[in-house]
């Protein structure tokens, strides 16, 4: 490096001329601006900000200027280099962002491609519905009781006040195990679990029992020799029919929505007295009997007691225009049942109820043919791969 040249006229040094510095700066900025890729920017950086660039050379010349000129020239060149450096950084950031974006764009896939490589499984709706029913009662502190399907005649009938010569036995078409004199049957209802529960637990008893039951019905769209019931039994001090109503109303609203309640109609079961049929307010039309899809045009025409002949079009399909759905049977536990199970009928009263789970599933979920429940078609069960 040469020493300072005191004769050197800074104005005469070309690279340090103000316009030359500006021109170099402007050329650099323009080149930066036009760099379209990171590679181009790299070349621009070398050319305009590298060691051999005009501004770098000018910077190198500053030291050769007389002291009085250095300050001004240094400032000028420094500003120009600063502007170029900043522009480079800014452009670098922009181009890098663009580059990353482009890679992501190039990596795009068709997200609509299916990934049904592993077929989905599903639990049977009878299972999930039984569990849901159980959960409603477990949430109230009840427990789930169980019993065998191949059952003693005594438990299926006699203990429930259905003696051998009771006419109500003909209501229950029973499968008998060979030889019939061995007094073993396929349970015709879940009610033997009532007796089993009372014989194995001390009151207070609050249980439900979902399970499989059997009747000698021919198999068709609405009948099956195998079907499912849920039994409820409460035995405690001071239990009344009002508690039965309260429990079933709660059950109804839990299963079918707020405001859906039940109605009792007198009926007959040997194991309950008084006995009642349970009707459910139709959860589709909410008791109006009118098809909600048809809406106000029918509803506005008059009362809910539409004429039977004219209601065919606008009547609710779920309840057939009745406003009510038959749901099951219930009643106050017959004291004779308590006696047969060793429960003191003077101290305890109870109630019991039974509903068809298959039927509930059918009307709750619009299943038209009962046989769908037992044919195991994966399309049917698969449609119920949900909690219900």
């Amino acid at each position: 490096m040469s020493g300072p040249n005191t004769d050197y006229d800074p104005v005469e040094v070309t690279p340090l001329k103000a316009d030359e510095v500006e021109a170099a700066r402007d050329a650099a900025l323009a080149a930066i601006e036009s760099a379209g890729t990171l590679e181009e920017l790299k070349r621009v950086r070398t050319e305009h900000a590298g060691d051999r660039s005009a501004l770098a050379l000018a910077n190198r010349e500053i030291g050769a200027l007389p002291p009085q000129a250095r300050k001004e020239a240094g400032q000028r060149v420094g500003q120009a280099r600063g502007a170029v450096s900043k522009a480079l950084a800014a452009r670098q950031a922009v181009l890098e962002a663009e580059h990353e974006e482009r890679i992501l764009v190039e990596e795009a896939v068709d997200v609509t491609l299916p990934w049904d490589r592993y077929p989905a499984g599903a639990r049977h709706p009878l299972t999930t519905l039984s569990e849901r029913i159980g959960d409603v009662f477990v949430a109230m502190g009840w427990e789930i009781a169980e019993g065998p399907v191949v059952e003693a005649e005594w438990l299926n009938f006699d203990a429930l006040n259905l003696g051998a010569d009771h006419p109500a036995r003909t209501m229950q078409d029973t499968f008998w195990m060979e030889p019939p004199e061995n007094a073993i049957v396929l349970r015709t209802h879940t009610s033997p679990v009532q007796a089993r529960t009372l014989l194995t637990r001390k009151p207070p008893v609050y249980v439900v029992c979902p399970g499989r039951v059997f009747r000698t019905d021919e198999y068709d769209a609405t009948h099956s020799p195998v079907f499912h019931q849920v039994e409820g039994l409460v035995v405690d001090e001071g239990i009344t029919m009002a508690h039965l109503k309260g429990s079933l109303d709660h059950f109804a609203s839990s299963m079918f929505g707020e405001g859906i309640t039940t109605r009792f109609r007198p009926s007959y079961f040997p194991f309950t007295e008084p006995s009642a049929e349970v009707d459910l307010v139709c959860f589709v039309c909410r008791g109006t009997g009118l098809d909600p899809a048809v809406g106000t045009s029918v509803g506005a025409s008059g009362s809910t007691a539409a004429e039977p002949t004219s209601s065919a079009h606008g009547s609710c399909r779920t309840c057939k225009g009745e406003g009510w759905i038959e749901w099951g049977g219930c009643g106050v536990v017959n004291p004779r049942v308590l006696v047969a199970c060793g429960v003191d009928p003077e101290r305890y009263t109870g109630f019991a109820f039974g509903m068809g789970i298959d039927r509930t599933l059918m009307f709750r979920h619009g299943v038209e043919d009962l046989r769908d429940l037992f044919e195991g078609d994966v399309r049917f069960v698969g449609a119920f791969g949900t909690e219900i």
Binding site: D116, R117, Y118, G121, A122, R123, H124, T127, M140, W142, E143, I144, V149, V150, A152, E153, W154, D165, P167, T170, F175, W176, M177, P179, N182, A183, I184, L186, Y206, T216, D236, T240, M241, A242, H243, L244, K245, G246, T261, R263, F264, R265, P266, S267, Y268, E273, P274, A276, E277, V332, N334, R336, V339, A340, E375, G376, D377, R379, V381, G385
Partner: protein, 826 residues
């Protein structure tokens, strides 16, 4: 029970605003549930009028038929008052006869629309109707010719023919036998609307005497009351009055002859089944006795029946002439020539009738009533009513003789606290309401302090217990008044562990791609044969159903596989060959053939009795079974699919065991219905859970399954019992040391066994061992295979050093060499 509304209204004067709908609503809420309301002529549209045949001209036709061209006066019903020209094919009427005419615009049953149409060279403007065409009878003898006093031409015929009659069909529960009569239904209607009821059975009847048809009752337990009355000089050709025939039809019974129709009519009216005998065909006294075992009787339906010693019989000197209370015999039945009618109105023991009816599979209108309980005070009134109607419509004389053997039992009385109905129902029911309601059903009630005593009316054999009275009181107050109160259950313990675990098992399998199915638990020899079970296979030890619906499936199944395989085949048949199914259900495993005791019901069974009862029942363990067919993983844009194999079936059980926290051991086995070389036994310790693997090719063929279907079946109860949550798992944060070893062993050595050896030999530092490669081929030589395992070592408290790791690995390899001759592959 079908009841014409007009008949009900005849027996009880209902308020004017009580429509049929209100009536049936009220009856339903009283416990007589409405099944349907029918209108007798509901499918007929008018104009349907009376017409008088003014003239008729017979016109032979080319087809050999002779038609009648009639001029019929239909009054002003046709709008003109002119006679109506109608072509008629029947010949059973004459000029001047009154007939039923449907005019153009009318519609007959079956949607048969009537219009004026050209036929046989005339324009026939309407039709002269037969009973058959109107759907009110099956008279084949031509058109209906009405009595001259039936009405005037042009009168509406609906009313006359009973076609505007509403008939309600009520479901009668077995406890309400009294409502199997108009008397009972009318009584309910009366109490439902709070109007007085005139009991049609309350009639003055002549005192019994010794001159009636003689009766001997040898079995008073089966026949407490037997009444006979006799009508002589009866005209057997007398027709049944139209109103009576209509009511019988409306109630669902077929009119037969006046004498038979009267007995049926009185049964419908009062509820007392009546039997009529041709008195000229009876020989000697009527005798009621039990049958002799093997005795024979031909009943009215023409069937010869072999009797049991329990059957209650009606006999005369000729032998059996009827199954008491169920069905009469052929030899003494009322016939077209009967002029001497002996009327039987008896009371029979419900149990005896029930058993006989069941034994002979002979339910009848009579047995239906007797087995549920008929009013024992009815026989005299009913017999008297029959005699009255016979004579009124068939002439003759009621003879003075009145036979009555036996007597109705004294009425029962039941005492309850007056507050019981309120205490049981949770409704506010004051004592006076309880009394009034019991009185309205016919009880005589007396109140004594805090209790009331109800004398049960004779027609209510169902009222025996205090709670029976509660129901009577409550249903009249109205079940809609029962308040809704949630009972406060004590704190519960939630699901039992087994209940929770069962849900977990189902979710695990569904999560693994299995679809749950529910099958019937029935099977048969063909299905067990199709599984290829040996003759002595314990799964052939089944419980048999005495009255199975199908001869092919008379057994309770011992295995879930038949149902599951059939379901898989059904799916394949419906175009779904790739399925993975599971089922959890109990199977029935007999324990011998001990009878289940019929225990007393007046006390709790003793522990011994309860034990005996439990022991008589079969074992009913919960099983789990899976079946897989076709592809387990589908073919797709990602590449080829993967067929389900034996390993998927085994893995399903492992998946289940894993969520239960149980380690399942897999051993090679050879059991039907599996492929003998691709079958695994699944064990927990020494306890065998069941088997899994590929199904035998013959089984796939027999069930129509895709080839190489795989299946598993285990006793799920055994697995659930062993479920255990993890106890104190330790997760070390020190580094892992990974060592791979490839061992060459005999091809027959199960990989599971070798892995167990490595685990044992590696000692405590081993964290896991996992098979990652299996090789057979030239490099290892014939009869050998190479198994490559990844071993992971880790200590809970330190970083392992090289010496420790090497020692552990070498320990594993050494034990494998010692035990299985395993050679480390170079």
């Amino acid at each position: 029970m079908r009841a014409p509304v007009s008949w009900i209204r005849e027996l009880v004067e209902l308020p004017a605003d009580v429509t049929t709908e209100k009536l049936t609503d009220r009856l339903t809420m009283l416990g007589l549930k409405l099944e349907a309301v029918e209108r007798a002529g509901g499918d007929i549209q008018g104009p349907l009028v009376l017409g008088r045949v003014l003239s008729l001209a017979e016109e032979p036709q080319k087809n050999g038929k002779i038609i009648r061209w009639c001029q019929v006066d239909v009054g002003d019903a046709n709008g003109t008052g002119e006679p109506q020209g109608i072509v008629c094919g029947a010949h059973n009427f004459a000029e001047g006869d009154l007939v039923v005419v449907v005019l153009p615009g009318g519609v007959l049953p079956g949607g048969f629309a009537i219009s004026a149409r050209k036929t046989y060279g005339h324009v026939s403007a309407g039709m002269i109707c037969s009973a058959r065409e109107l759907g009110i009878g099956d008279d084949h003898d031509g058109i209906m010719v009405l009595p001259a006093d039936a009405g005037q031409p042009g009168d509406d015929a609906f009313g006359y023919l009973g076609l505007d009659e509403e008939v309600i069909d009520l479901e009668i529960n077995p406890d309400r036998a009294y409502a199997l009569s108009l008397r009972g239904i009318a009584r309910e209607a009366a109490l439902g609307f709070g109007v007085p009821f005139q009991d049609p059975a309350l009639r003055a009847t002549p005192e019994p005497n010794g001159t009636g048809y003689p009766v001997v009752v040898d079995a008073p337990d089966g026949c407490p009351v037997f009444v006979t009355r006799t009508v002589t000089g009866f005209d057997p050709s007398a027709p049944t009055p139209r109103w009576m025939a209509q009511r019988l039809q409306q109630a669902g019974m077929r009119p037969i002859s006046l004498a038979v129709d009267v007995t049926n009519y009185v049964m419908l009216e009062l509820g007392q089944p009546i039997h009529g005998y041709d008195g000229d065909r009876l020989s000697g006294p009527i005798r009621v006795r039990r049958a002799v075992e093997g005795e024979r009787l031909t009943t009215l339906d023409g069937v010869e029946r072999t009797l049991s010693a329990e059957d209650l019989l009606i006999t005369d000197d000729s032998g059996p002439i009827g199954l008491a209370g169920v069905m009469g015999g052929e030899t003494t039945e009322l016939s077209a020539t009967t002029s001497h009618v002996v009327i039987e109105a008896a009371h029979f023991d419900p149990v005896s009738i029930f058993r006989t009816q069941r034994r002979h599979k002979l339910p009848s209108e009579a047995s239906k009533r007797f087995e549920r309980g008929v009013d024992p005070l009815l026989p005299e009134a009913a017999a008297d009513r029959v005699a009255e109607l016979l004579v009124a419509h068939g002439g003759g004389t009621v003879t003075d003789g009145v036979t009555k053997v036996g007597a109705a039992p004294e009425p029962r009385s039941i005492t309850i606290p007056t507050g019981l109905p309120a205490r049981v129902t949770g409704m506010e029911i004051p004592a006076h309401t309880a009394v009034a309601n019991l009185e309205s059903v016919g009880c005589g009630v007396t109140v004594d302090g805090g209790s009331l005593t109800a004398v049960v009316p004779s027609w209510r054999p169902d009222l025996n217990d205090p709670f029976d009275l509660v129901e009577e009181v409550a249903r009249i107050v109205g079940y809609d008044k029962v308040p809704s109160v949630l009972p406060a259950a004590p704190a519960g313990r939630g699901l039992t562990p087994a209940q929770s675990l069962r849900r977990r098992v189902g979710r695990a399998l569904a999560g693994a791609g299995f679809v749950e199915v529910v099958s019937f638990p029935f099977t048969g020899p063909a299905a067990l044969d199709a599984l290829g079970l040996d003759e002595d296979d314990e799964r052939r030890n089944t419980m048999r159903i005495a009255n199975a619906l199908s001869n092919e499936q008379p057994y309770m199944t011992t295995t879930l596989l038949p149902g599951l395989l059939e379901t898989a085949a059904r799916n394949a048949g419906r175009g779904q060959p790739d399925v993975a199914l599971f089922e959890t259900a109990t199977v029935t495993l007999p324990r011998g053939t001990v009878a289940a005791p019929i225990l007393p019901v007046d006390r709790r069974p003793t522990p011994g009795e309860w034990d005996d009862l439990q022991k008589a029942l079969p074992d009913q363990p919960l099983h789990l079974a899976v079946v897989l067919t076709g592809e387990r993983e589908r073919t797709g844009w990602w590449g080829p699919g993967r067929a389900a194999t034996w390993s998927d079936a085994i893995q399903a059980v492992r998946d289940v065991a894993q969520v239960l926290g149980v380690e399942v051991e897999v051993r090679s086995a050879s059991v039907a219905p599996w492929h003998p070389g691709r079958c695994a036994e699944l064990l927990v310790g020494d306890v065998s859970l069941g088997h899994a693997g590929e199904l035998h090719p013959k089984v796939c063929t027999a069930f129509g399954l895709p080839a190489r279907a795989a299946a598993a079946e285990i006793d799920l109860d055994l697995l659930l019992e062993r479920a255990a949550p993890p106890s104190g798992p330790v997760v070390s944060s020190f580094p892992v040391a990974k060592e791979d070893v490839a061992l060459v062993v005999d091809a027959a050595l199960p990989a599971g066994e070798l892995a167990a050896t490595l685990r044992e030999g590696a000692g405590e530092l081993l964290e896991s061992v996992r098979l990652f490669d299996l090789y057979t081929g030239a490099q290892v030589g014939g009869g050998k295979k190479s198994l490559a395992f990844a071993l992971r070592f880790r200590a809970p408290d330190r970083t392992l050093n090289d010496e420790e790791i090497t020692a552990a690995r070498e320990g594993a390899v050494a034990l494998a060499a010692e035990r299985h001759g395993a050679v480390l592959r170079g």
